[in-house]
Amino acid sequence: MKVLVTVKEVASAGDDFTIEGTGIAESDLEYDLNEWDDYAVEAAVQLAEAGVADEVVGVTIGPERAEETIRMALAKGVDRAIRVWDDAFATGFPDVASKVDVFEAVVAEEEPDLVLSGVQAADDGFGATGVALAERIGFEHAAVVNHLDLDADAGLANVHRELEGGVEELTEVDLPAVLTVQTGLNEPRYASLRGIRQAQRKEIAATTLDDLGLTAEDVESALTLTSMYEPESESDAELIEGDAGEAATRLATILREKGVGA
């Protein structure tokens, strides 16, 4: 079987950051592979190593810069990747449906039996793309999967869905399916030196909307990001000043007043 993994390069805000317009200043952003997608990649690569998956293909919607991150997924064992980009994604605030337009076209081309995506992207965190994609392409799905046992012959995925409060739902999902992967599903590997070398030779196919038979209008977003600001603090935290020693002394006093360690 063939596994398609959606992988996103996500940005995080450094310790000190400034907001410019409706975004964080480019120089204050750090980029990395989305944590949830790292677990999805690991799950896919393990399926390949177990002989269940014949091929693992990664797909991303991202600018050229994202190739560095996508190469990390290749270094971990993804066979090849597809990178889709259009200026429409850079200028607007893509909604879930517009990303699904792209993934739908990629699915039509690649015909995977299983799609793995992350529960959420750490930056804009919609937590929605995988499930919306499943609906669009007529696959079954399960969201927030923290245990996966695939029975390819029976066409089934036995999963645990991690609910709130330490309760897991045990669910049997028909394939083909989209599963959104929760952290803790496995132990993502570090890329080996050999893997990193091999990844240099693996393909990242730069793909345009046109290549996928789509136009900029197709992926028009119904959402506009109109402002971004630092949230107001809900508490009036007393910030304890001084070097570590002074701060510890003050904190010790506070703790003792609360009856701790007394």
């Binding site: 937590g127 739902e169 701060a247």
Partner: protein, 315 residues
């Protein structure tokens, strides 16, 4: 003018609190849109749930008695039937784990723009939703085109709807659903040696600790303070501490007298599990870490400097 459909949530025979919150959010939206608020109650003991949720502000309740537990295919079919039989064009669902399992599919199925994890919204000729980004470091406003949309709301952000309502309760029949995702049961995880929910003082450690070997440091601190050790999710995901130590949405909700967060950023799914603590103290090197927004006391500093100094204070 259009109506709003809110969707209730229950699990293993019990309504979840967020059900009353989606009613409140739904009522606000219905007022803004000048329409009625419909409530869908799907699966399980729908009649009891419907009675319990017949609160002020609900105009009509639609019950779909199909199956016992949550199944996204049943929810999708039920919501489609209610949307079809009413003037509702906006859907409000909880941003819960089950909400994440059906709301995006519902939005996709009905071509509704989707905004998830709303913490607030305003309506002025159109909907503008407040939501966070970058691990709660910033808030954003997101404007939605048109009056048909799907919205999921963060749990605990809206007051629960109260009072007694007199909405008619109408059963809705749907064709039986051959589901491709079948629930076989539930499993409770995280039992074990300690119940962190019982502790008066928690020292809670996060990814800032960097390595498993460094855990010794916070263990020492917990011991010096007579506290119990708990953790954020990455520590448990890495297998450094057992699941019964995890604080948060998928771990435990704790309300100790003192919660000392060490190297924890304060992601919403963590904060959900500890914001009810009497006194919250945070040690974090990032002055913009969202944990400081809910803390009573904060030290902006390197835990590897502050924690040893603090241990010394108690020796």
């Amino acid at each position: 003018m259009s109506d709003v459909l809110a969707v209730a949530e229950h699990r293993r025979g019990e309504l979840r609190d967020v059900s009353a919150e989606v009613i409140m959010a739904g009522r606000e939206l219905a007022d803004a849109l000048g329409g009625d608020l419909h409530l869908a109650v799907v699966a399980g003991d729908v009649d009891t749930f419907a009675d319990e949720l017949n609160r002020e502000g609900v105009d009509a309740i639609h019950t779909v008695a199909e199956g016992e537990e949550f199944d996204h295919n049943v929810y999708q079919a039920a919501i489609a039937a209610v949307l079809d039989g009413t003037d509702a064009a906006a859907v409000v669902a909880p941003n819960s784990v089950n909400g994440l399992d059906y709301a995006p599919a519902v939005a996709e199925q009905h071509g509704l723009p989707l905004v998830t994890d709303a913490i607030d919204f305003e309506y002025d000729d159109g909907l503008t939703v407040t939501r966070e980004m970058y691990g709660s470091k910033v808030e954003t406003s997101v404007a939605v085109e048109g009056d048909r949309f799907a919205l999921t709301i963060r749990e605990g952000e809206w007051e629960p709807a109260a009072g007694e309502g007199d909405a008619p309760i109408e059963p809705v029949a749907i064709d039986s659903v051959e589901s491709g995702a079948r629930v076989a049961g539930f499993e409770e995880v995280g039992g074990g040696d300690v119940d962190i929910a019982d502790a008066d003082v928690l020292v809670s450690v996060g990814r800032g600790i960097e390595e498993e070997d460094n855990l010794e440091l916070v263990e020492e601190l917990a011991e010096a303070l007579g506290a119990t050790l708990s953790a954020s999710r990455p520590i448990v995901d890495s297998g450094w501490l057992p699941k019964n130590r995890q604080v948060g949405q998928s771990g435990k909700v704790v309300t100790p007298d003192v919660y000392l967060a060490v190297g924890i950023s304060g992601a919403v799914q963590h904060v959900t599990g500890m914001k009810g603590s009497d006194t919250i103290i945070a040690i974090n090197s990032d002055p913009n870490a969202p944990i400081f927004d809910i803390a009573d006391y904060g030290i902006v500093g390197d835990l590897f400097d502050v924690v040893p100094a603090l241990i010394e204070e108690f020796e």
